[in-house]
Symmetry: D2
Subunit: 304 residues, 4 copies
């Protein structure tokens, strides 16, 4: 399989699905990104790497960071986490709060905001310096010591965090948040502001394709079983209310962010990440999903 | 891999998870089934078959039939179906009606009752004799001309169908049901009353493991792409509000029924079905899920 | 108080709030009504009557009929009804079904459709010929033997009753409907199609102003306590999701219908009814509410 | 009417409904109150006063304070408030958050917590020293300069305010909270901790019975129209999810608090308040409602 040829051809055809989405604009720092940014990176577990377009330009990974914090917490406390966060898809977004109320403050899964906030809360309980710990982890699996938070984005997130503050206080009223809410949301806004390129993300997601072993240094970070299970959660919950459709069209476990990035992987084979800032109605990169659908069609593989 | 040894060992250990669930009792005909029934059948795409326990005793397949009617309709009208039925997991069950209202009568996926009723409605529009057509299809893919409806179960279902009548009329009020509601629910109650054994179900599910080609006669029924997509829907929506957990623990596309049956498959490899009537709190076979988890652990394979 | 002068002045100023609403058009028979119809009738408990405009032209009273069937059932079975129907305002209309599900098939009050259907179901259990019984009751309290069902409207309602069929089957699944659903909805569609004028309605509502005694013949129909309580239900639930606002602006117990009618009363004093077919966003007569607000302002009385 | 005899007889029979409810225990300071406290005070607009039992012992008025802050804000900014807070009953309590989301942060009425928090937010915008302003207002209408906040209760409320913090941040995310959330919830917790006796409350509620004129000094505080409208809101929304039932059984506008107090009034006639700390399932004083039902039955008056 000539992966370079595949991604080159896909990117050459990408104009047809640019200009149809909408850049996230809830914070100014995200709204400023150029809408025609487009990058693809593919990393194979055998070590080969392929990339095209803006694959080396860092962007705000936003919710993709939820996979990394979840990996840190699952690696540290294991199955106990699932007493505090469910792993079922969340259904209609407009029900998220009534769901939280109905389930006594237990979010349905770790990729909706409420669930990710609980995961970060547990991470804070584990690490005295949580923001540094997250950086260390991400740098380690991406093999890039230059990954940083985009502080301007983090501050902007913090200034627009009323809704996440509400979620955190609401869960705290049920006893499902253990740390100070102000500090928690500060850490959470920073993790969303992690700045990484497609190349960084593909290298990092090799961890999952490689069944839990960090391919940068052959250190096992997650058990095979933990890795397989994170894959199941990404596969059923990774794309907001478009998760079922993503499984249907693409068929890979993965995670998207409102910065326009998507990272996904095929177990035992490869990791792929795409960046295109324009979002569809579900908040996922419009071109990113098209590109991944073409990619799995071209290489004739998916998990199904 | 000695599959026979694997399923023999699993069934020998099964006592530990019997007696902990509850047989479906909303209709008398289901409540009468003996709670210690237990069968496993495995069919490989290479033609080998393995079975143990009560694998050849027919039981009421109930919601597993939704996969078959969906296959018939998708095979006939293709992607158009998805304008009338979504393919996203449904979230909390108690929200199903408010979801239908919010989405103007479009059910979230074809495996919740509302969605399966829409699929059967379309099937009625396609086949002048729908009940016969469903029998023909199921017999063809299972390679067993003796599959019938359990009429006693069908009648009992019909007498307890007020809620499904309500769903059908509700969707009809939005224009999403095209046929007479009384007839529609009659057909629907019959499909739920299909009586098949584990062996029947495993052979039938080979269709999906075999990427859309009927292994009984090498006739293509679904395109590769349609098959892959049905797999995605089973994977994200096949186990009611335990779908995410099933993906997490088992990692195979599949479908359960309240008769205690589960059918699942590994693409390109095999189909497996299990029958144990006691259900867990989500309405899935309690032992069935345990057995499938052990099976994928023992053979060290899942789609993730 | 010169009531005739008051209603004459109000109707002379009514042009300012005509042409701003929308006639109910979910069935053709209602949509044909002329939008500039406007009538007011006032009946005092002392026997005086006042009217203006189209006060003697019959129209489809629709949901106002729910007060009459409720009176019949409360008069016959008393407080027992309230085990099957609540008496709390219903909140957001889009939650009606999830509410029914949450409350195990008990509708929140007798004036939402689900509640009125339960009331009619009980009425059917009480009267062998329910449609005749309703006519008898209404003719008796309105003192008009010429009140009939508008059969054309009733048939049209029946043809568009999918949603009410859904509600009835849904409640039946919880055991809260006792009679055949087809027959029940037929009776319900007829009661909605009762054809009465403002004069008829005002005379009929004198029953409530007169504390339960039929002013036509001095026969007690409801106890004082029952009457007072029906007034409380009208006051909190009589105007769909505008009930609070109606209490706020008008301050009288009453009931509206999508035919554009409103009937209301002041305990011990008078009954008033208004007809103007154009509805506001809540499904209540737009001019009707304006007129009643001016009326209570002009006569400087409300229950508050 | 010998009001003293009426309330004496009612209190003498009150043992039959004591011991059946549950004292609010979400904060320690409330849980410590003696469950057999029982007081009644009645104030007529003509100046006569009647009281019995523990009518002069101050208790935590909790949500009854919402009537006072609402009166302050409506008196100052009038109808504009209703752009930010609705006046419809709220329906099922478990839907409060989904309702807020659906209505873009506009609470359904000023007596659910979300609505009362918006009212207090506006009060903070009006008064540089809001806690002092509330004290001044309440002292003025109750004619008692010794009314204070129970600081211990206020602190305890503040320590258990996670849910109210969540509500405030959630509404702020929609732009419907204008002041700092920490300060807002501090003021809100204080107003709930106002300590008043039945006698204080009855005197204060004479303001509403007296159509907006402070009977302590004949100063008009609310217009007649404003007063009438506050009565409508109390009548439809004053008793949580038991508002319809309270209208049905008692038929007076009023407001309850989880401290076990209820204040109500009959327009033009009298104000009455009751205190009994044991609550029913809806969070209203169990004996309080019974007593008020007997009172309106005995004096044969209600607004209906």
């Amino acid at each position: 399989m000539d992966y370079q040829a595949v991604i080159n051809r896909i990117i050459s055809e990408a104009n047809s699905f640019l200009g149809k989405g909408k850049i996230a604009d809830y914070i100014p720092a995200l709204a400023e990104v150029s809408s025609d940014r487009l990058g693809i990176a593919v990393n194979l577990v055998d070590g080969r790497t392929f990339k095209t377009g803006d694959a080396d330009i860092p962007f705000s990974i936003q919710s993709i960071s939820k996979v990394f914090t979840l990996s840190m917490v699952v690696g540290a406390i294991g199955e106990d986490l699932w007493n505090s966060v469910g792993r079922e898809p969340s259904g209609n977004p407009f029900n998220s709060l009534v769901q939280l109320e109905h389930e006594k403050g237990i979010p349905r899964n770790p990729f909706i905001n409420a669930g990710a906030i609980v995961v970060t809360d547990r991470l804070i309980s584990l690490y005295p310096r949580p923001k540094e710990a997250i950086l260390d982890f991400v740098r380690s699996i991406a093999g890039n010591a230059d990954i940083y938070y985009d502080t301007r984005v983090a501050i902007s997130e913090r200034e627009n965090a009323d809704r996440n503050m509400a979620l955190a206080y609401f869960m705290k009223s049920f006893g499902n948040i253990h740390n100070d809410v102000e500090m928690l949301i500060d850490v959470y806004c920073h993790q969303c502001a992690l700045s990484m390129s497609c190349s960084d993300l593909s290298r990092a997601f090799l961890l999952y394709a490689n069944r839990g072993v960090n391919p940068q240094n052959d250190v096992r970070i997650l058990t095979e079983s933990q890795t397989k299970r994170l894959g199941a959660v990404m596969s059923t919950c990774g794309f907001y209310d478009e998760s079922g459709d993503f499984a249907y069209r693409v068929g890979l476990p993965g995670k998207s962010g409102v910065g326009g990035g998507i990272a996904a992987y095929m177990p035992g084979k490869l990791a792929i990440s795409v960046w295109s800032p324009e979002l569809n109605n579900f908040g996922n990169s419009l071109a990113g999903i098209e590109i991944l659908e073409r990619f799995t069609t071209d290489i004739q593989r998916s998990i199904f």
